[in-house]
């Protein structure tokens, strides 16, 4: 097991190096340079501009710039934001709690809805409940989050005046905090639970017809025991992988949802940084996201092995 994890971690390194090269390459080859704003300003004389470029090391060839960037990244120095002049790591840490709270609870609720609904609709396949669940999951999964978000604002904020539609981190009152989180959390939970329900249902259906289930029934186990102890345990294995693969978004933020409700998370930081050509911040967010994807992929495989003794790692 340890050998397997070690092997996976080692093979992840070249993948991450290539990903970092791709991201760096796109940024470096792009014609819009970070001093674009400055360059557009006619008051900045060309010599000053050259000086700034030189100071920032932007006049060097791309491979050297990449090597320098990679070195400083590896030592934990993620650079400073061009726009706000504070360190990128601190900027991200400021935004992270909001994401963990809003997006994290959105996911938690989604999982709590999806597993029982998916299980029930698989166990009672073709029943009315199954049909309602499958259809709503299908619709929920086809509705883009930007539309459900806008729809909720129109109904609950504009028409009914129940909920505020702008998220405010300054609020300390717990009731208000809860109120302003309801809509973004609901939008995320709705979409995610739709996606997950479909997977839980099909994964459960793959299992209910199997021989071991019949054996369990033949032993005289009660229905709920067969489903919960036997089928669910096997049916949830692929779901664990799926959830692990979606966890990086808790960090990168749900860009769209954050944008609609003005939630100041990492996602809206990403949009703002892209619009301001704030390269260090964009790089950091994109790269941390890539690292999380790769690491959670490995974690998912390891968990998969722990849950399913049939899988052996050679």
């Amino acid at each position: 097991m340890t050998r397997y994890i070690l092997h996976r971690l080692l093979t992840a390194v070249p993948t991450l190096v290539i990903i970092s090269m791709v991201i760096f390459g796109i940024l470096a080859l792009a014609p819009g340079d970070p001093l674009g704003q400055l360059a557009a300003n006619p008051d900045v004389p060309p010599e000053v501009r050259q000086n700034i470029l030189h100071q920032m090391g932007l006049d060097q060839p791309i491979p050297i710039r990449y090597a320098k960037w990679a070195m400083s990244w590896a030592t934990g120095n993620w650079g400073y934001s061009f726009a706000s002049h504070i360190s990128v790591a601190r900027l991200l840490l400021q935004r992270l709690p909001t994401d963990l709270w809003v997006i994290g609870s959105g996911y938690l609720i989604a999982v709590m809805i999806a597993i029982p609904v998916g299980v029930l609709s698989a166990v009672k396949q073709y029943s009315l409940l199954d049909q309602v669940a499958t259809t709503s999951a299908f619709i929920g999964y086809s509705l883009p989050t930007f539309f459900t978000g806008v729809l909720m604002i129109i109904i609950f904020s504009v028409r009914l005046h129940w909920l505020p539609f702008i998220y405010n981190v300054q609020v300390r009152d717990p009731v208000r905090m809860l109120q302003q989180a309801i809509m973004p959390v609901a939008v995320l939970a709705l979409f995610q639970s739709a996606v997950l329900t479909r997977f839980v249902r099909s994964s459960m259906l793959d299992n209910v017809g199997q021989d071991y289930v019949r054996t369990a029934r033949a032993k005289g186990l009660a229905q709920h025991r067969v489903i919960i102890r036997h089928v669910l345990r096997n049916g949830l294995i692929p779901i664990v992988t799926l959830i692990a693969l979606q966890l990086p978004t808790v960090f990168t933020g749900a860009v769209v949802t954050e944008q609609i409700f003005r939630v100041p998370g990492v996602g809206s930081l990403l949009i703002a940084s892209i619009q301001n050509s704030d390269t260090p911040v964009v790089m950091a967010i994109a790269f941390v996201a890539a690292i999380l994807v790769v690491l959670l992929n490995i974690a998912a495989d390891v968990v998969y092995g722990a849950l399913d003794p049939r899988i052996r790692y050679g």
Binding site: V255, V282, V293
Partner: protein
């Protein structure tokens, strides 16, 4: 493509021909004919196909019938709710929403199809090459696929479009440039699942006897790939291609909604929603109609994909 039963029978001579006359079913059953029959039985898929056809034809033909300009300003009739003169109301500049939605539909749907074609082409080429040739080529191509799968898709999408918007606009013009940029980026970041499907199909099919037979009579690799193996792995590709049209429409709308898609004078559905965001209290119809169009288009195409999945599954017999 496939020789019919009767011309094979004709080659065999009169006796075999007479025997075959008994065996022949009352109607010719082809692979695609069967699929179509099964698809027709899927009512929601048929409804989805009809809806999507309606949206497509409506946005192509609509502007010729409903001859209201999409950009005629009229501040006297700004943010008018739906009425006889303006069935979908007007926006903050007094422009007619129905005309804009029909025009925008053309672009949104075209982006969906073009991005699908691009990702399917790329995916099929990568998957077929990897699956057919195997060994080192397979290893290298699958590593590339893995790297693409671990790229953070949305940040990269936003970044690429933001950075390359200006030069490509200068080269190809504001509308066409953004169109190809968006199509290219969506297609270029979505081909991986198709590649994996095609590769898996190729690995399974290339060991079959009929491929061996084809090889033994001297069929070259290109013809083996496209003539003999491809038709057998096409079903899952068609399904995932259909679903990816919907996904591409959502992605384009998302980009436009974040203000990183088409310019304001090109009213794609996502852009219309983006413009409506600041007027949700005064003119909710500005958001509702384009949003509804996106939902209808995506929902109907997803139902079509679902029906195709059932129809193209060869293990199902009717």
């Amino acid at each position: 493509m496939v020789s019919t039963r009767s011309d094979r029978v004709a080659q065999l001579g009169p006796i075999a021909g007479r025997r075959a006359a008994f065996e022949r079913p009352r109607y010719a059953r082809t692979l695609w004919g069967d699929a179509w029959r099964r698809f027709r039985k899927h009512r929601l898929a048929m409804a989805g196909a009809a809806m999507f056809l309606f949206l497509t034809v409506g946005s192509i033909v609509g502007p010729f019938v409903y001859r209201v300009p999409i950009n005629a300003l009229n501040f006297g009739a700004s943010m008018v709710p739906p009425s006889a003169a303006h069935p979908f109301g007007t926006n903050d500049l007094g422009q007619d929403m129905l005309a804009r939605i029909m025009y925008g539909g053309r672009i949104s749907i075209a982006v969906g199809f073009a991005a699908m074609l691009m990702s399917v082409t790329l995916g099929v080429l990568m998957g077929a090459t990897a699956g057919f040739f195997g060994r080192t080529i397979d290893l290298v191509l699958m590593r590339i696929t893995d790297v693409f799968l671990s790229l953070p898709a949305l940040p990269l999408l936003l970044l690429t479009i933001y950075l390359f918007r200006e030069p490509i606009t200068r080269a190809l013009g504001p509308q066409l440039g953004i169109f190809w940029l968006i199509v290219g980026v969506i297609g270029g970041l979505n081909w991986m699942p198709t590649a994996r499907l095609v590769r898996a199909g190729f690995l399974a099919v290339k060991e079959k006897e009929f491929i061996e037979a084809a090889r033994s009579v001297g069929v070259g690799p290109v013809k083996q790939i496209f003539r003999h193996i491809m038709p057998n792995v096409l079903s899952p590709v068609i399904v995932s291609g259909t679903l990816s049209v919907g996904a591409a429409i959502i992605t384009e709308s998302t980009l436009s909604f974040l203000g990183l898609g088409f310019p304001p004078d090109v009213p794609t559905w996502g852009r219309l929603l983006f413009d409506a965001q600041n007027y949700l209290d005064l003119a909710p119809h500005m958001a509702l109609f384009p949003g509804l169009m996106i939902c209808l288009a995506v929902l109907s195409i997803n139902y079509v994909g679902d029906g195709l999945r059932d129809a193209l599954d060869p293990t199902r017999v009717f």
